[in-house]
C-alpha cells in the first residue's frame, strides 16, 4: 500500500513538472562515438595495426547544468580503447564547477574547480573528441598519445579571464593541481613498467595566453605546463647494473611549452604549432642519470575546405627527442658501444637504434561531414622514425625506421 502511495506521489509530481519546466530540462547533454581502422606497413600503432586494427574507439558523454546564476556544473565521461594505451574503462575526463566571478560585455572571469582539462596547444582540451580535431589523429609530435595522461588534465583549480577587445578576444588561464601519473607515463619517461610506482603528490602549474584576432581569423596561443612526478623504486629496480637497472627513488621534472599560430579563412586554414619539452631526472640514477630530455616537436598543416562538407589537408610533422643530437646519431653510436661492452661481460642487450630518437612524417587526409552528426575521415601517413611509437606496443630495439600508415574513422556526435 505504501509503495502504491509512493508511486502515486511520483506520478503526480512528474505530471506537475510536465506543466512547468522541470530542473532536468536545463541539463545540456552531448556526446560522441567513433570507430577507427588502422593499418601500418610495419610497427604497431594502436593495436595489431600491421594486420589491420580496429582497436581505436572513442566514446564520450557529457552534461552541463546551470545550478545558480553564477555557478554551472559540468562533467564528461570518456571511454577510450586505444591499443595497449587504453583499455576502454570509463573515467571522468573532467568534472568541474564553473564559478563566474565577474561578467559584463567587456570582460568575464571566474574559476573552474575540480578536474579540468589542461590547455596545451590549440587542441589538448578536446583531444579525444574526433569532431574537434583537424585530422583523425592529432599530430603525435606535440599531442603524444604515449604520455597523454600526465598532460591531459589535472585535479585542482583554474582562474580564467576573458577580455573582449574590438580587435579580438584575449583568453587567459592560470591553473594549479595534481597531474595524473599512470603506466603510460612510466613507459614514456622511464622506458618500462618497473616494480616501483609513480606518485603525483607535487602540485603542477599551467597557463594559457590566447588571442583570437578579428573573430578568430588569426589565433595566437602560448601554453605551458610544469609538473614533478616522484618515482619510488622497489624490489628489483634497485639491483645494480648490469644485472638490474640500478634505480633509486627520485623525481622527474617536466616542463612543456607550446606556441601556436593559426589562420582561418573561408577556404584555407593554416596551422603551425611547436612544442618544447624538458625532462630532468633527479636522483633516480641508473640508465636515466644522463638521459635528460630536451625535445622539440612541430608541425605545419594546410587545410582546404572544398565546400562546407568536404575538407582535405596536408601536414608535415617532426619530432626530435634531443634537439642537440638531431636524428639521435650520437645516442645510437653510444648505445652500440654500450651493447658491445655488455656483450664482453656475457650480457646480450640489443642497442636502441637511432630511429627511436626522431620522427618525421607527411600526412594527407580528408574529412566528409555526411550530415551534422556523422563524419567520415581517411588519412595516409608516410613516416620516417619511430619516436612516436610506444614501447608498450613495440620492441624498441627492432622497430622499422620507414613505415606507412592508413587510417579510416566513422564518428557520430549529438
Amino acid at each position: 500500500m505504501r509503495a502504491y502511495l509512493f508511486m502515486a506521489c511520483l506520478v503526480s509530481s512528474s505530471f506537475a513538472y510536465a506543466e512547468n519546466k522541470s530542473w532536468y530540462d536545463d541539463i545540456l547533454i552531448h556526446g560522441f562515438i567513433s570507430q577507427s581502422f588502422i593499418n601500418t606497413s610495419d610497427n604497431q600503432f594502436f593495436g595489431n595495426s600491421e594486420n589491420g586494427s580496429f582497436d581505436f574507439s572513442e566514446l564520450g558523454i557529457n552534461a552541463s547544468y546551470q545550478l545558480l546564476p553564477r555557478v554551472r556544473l559540468a562533467a564528461g565521461l570518456l571511454s577510450r580503447q586505444a591499443g595497449a594505451f587504453d583499455n576502454g574503462s570509463p573515467r571522468f575526463d573532467y568534472a568541474l564547477a564553473d564559478i563566474r566571478l565577474f561578467s559584463n560585455q567587456h570582460v568575464s572571469s571566474g574559476i573552474y574547480l575540480g578536474r579540468v582539462k589542461n590547455e596545451i596547444g590549440l587542441y589538448n582540451s578536446t583531444r579525444d573528441v574526433p569532431q574537434t580535431r583537424d585530422g583523425l589523429f592529432l599530430p603525435q609530435v606535440i599531442y603524444f598519445d604515449k604520455v597523454r595522461n600526465a598532460l591531459i588534465s589535472s585535479d585542482g583549480l583554474v582562474i580564467y579571464n576573458n577580455i573582449y577587445f574590438d580587435n579580438g578576444t584575449l583568453l587567459m588561464q592560470a591553473s594549479t593541481g595534481y597531474p595524473l601519473a599512470d603506466k603510460n607515463v612510466e613507459y614514456a619517461y622511464m622506458g618500462n613498467d618497473w616494480q616501483g610506482n609513480l606518485q603525483n603528490d607535487h602540485l603542477a602549474f599551467s597557463g594559457m595566453l590566447r588571442y583570437e584576432q578579428n573573430g578568430g581569423q588569426w589565433i595566437y596561443s602560448l601554453t605551458g605546463s610544469s609538473f614533478k612526478i616522484d618515482f619510488d623504486a622497489k624490489g628489483s629496480d634497485t639491483i645494480a647494473a648490469p644485472i638490474g637497472p640500478g634505480f633509486n627513488s627520485g623525481t622527474m621534472k617536466v616542463d612543456y611549452t607550446v606556441l601556436s599560430l593559426q589562420y582561418n579563412a573561408e577556404k584555407w586554414q593554416l596551422t603551425g604549432e611547436v612544442a618544447f619539452e624538458n625532462v630532468n631526472y633527479n636522483d633516480i640514477g641508473g640508465p636515466l642519470a644522463e638521459m635528460d630530455i630536451n625535445s622539440i616537436g612541430y608541425y605545419l598543416q594546410a587545410s582546404y575546405n572544398i565546400n562546407t562538407r568536404w575538407q582535405t589537408f596536408l601536414r608535415f610533422e617532426e619530432f626530435q627527442l634531443n634537439k642537440h643530437d638531431w636524428d639521435g646519431k650520437k645516442a645510437a653510436r653510444n648505445n652500440i658501444k654500450v651493447s658491445q661492452q655488455l656483450a664482453g661481460l656475457g650480457i646480450n642487450r640489443a642497442p636502441i637504434p637511432a630511429q627511436e630518437y626522431y620522427s618525421r612524417s607527411w600526412v594527407i587526409g580528408t574529412r566528409w561531414l555526411i550530415d551534422q552528426r556523422f563524419m567520415l575521415r581517411a588519412e595516409y601517413h608516410k613516416v620516417h622514425g619511430a619516436a612516436t611509437l610506444s614501447p608498450r606496443e613495440n620492441e624498441v630495439s627492432s622497430t622499422t625506421p620507414k613505415w606507412d600508415m592508413f587510417a579510416l574513422s566513422l564518428s557520430y556526435r549529438f
Binding site: 546551470q66 573532467y94 582540451s125 573582449y164 578576444t169 562546407t308 562538407r309
Partner: protein, 142 residues
Amino acid sequence: MILKRKLLIAVVLLVSSQSVFAEEIIVNAERQFDKLTKTTVRAMFAMRIHQWSDGTPVTVYVLKDNNPIHITFCKTLLGMFPYQLRKIWDRQIFSGTGVGPIQLNTEKEMIQAIADNKGAIGYISSTADTNSHSISTVEVIK
C-alpha cells in the same frame, strides 16, 4: 526595346535578391536598446557573454550550421565563418568550460523562441514576417 526591358527586369531581380540575403539580429522586445557593437555580438554568439546589463541571462538561438541564413549571418554580421563558431562552441561543450547555443530548424521557430524569452537573441533574414511578435531588430555598430 525588349532587350532593354529584360535587362531592367534582370537588374531589379538582382537588387531584390541582394536584399533577401540581408540578415538582421533580433532580440526580445523587452530589451530596451536598438544597437550592439560587433565585439559584443561576436562574444554573445561565441557563448562568452552570459548576461545582459540588467542581469537577465542571455539565451542564444541559431539555425543549423549549413542553413543559408546562418551562413550569411555569420559572414555579414559577425565577419566570421560558420566553422569558426562551431569550433568555439565544441571546444567549450566538450571540455566542460562552456556551452553551445540552442539550434532551431526554421526562422519561424526562431521568431517564436525570441518572442517567448526575454533574454533571447537570434537572427532572421529581413524578409521574414515578424509582425504580431514581441521582438525588435538590433543594429550592429562598429
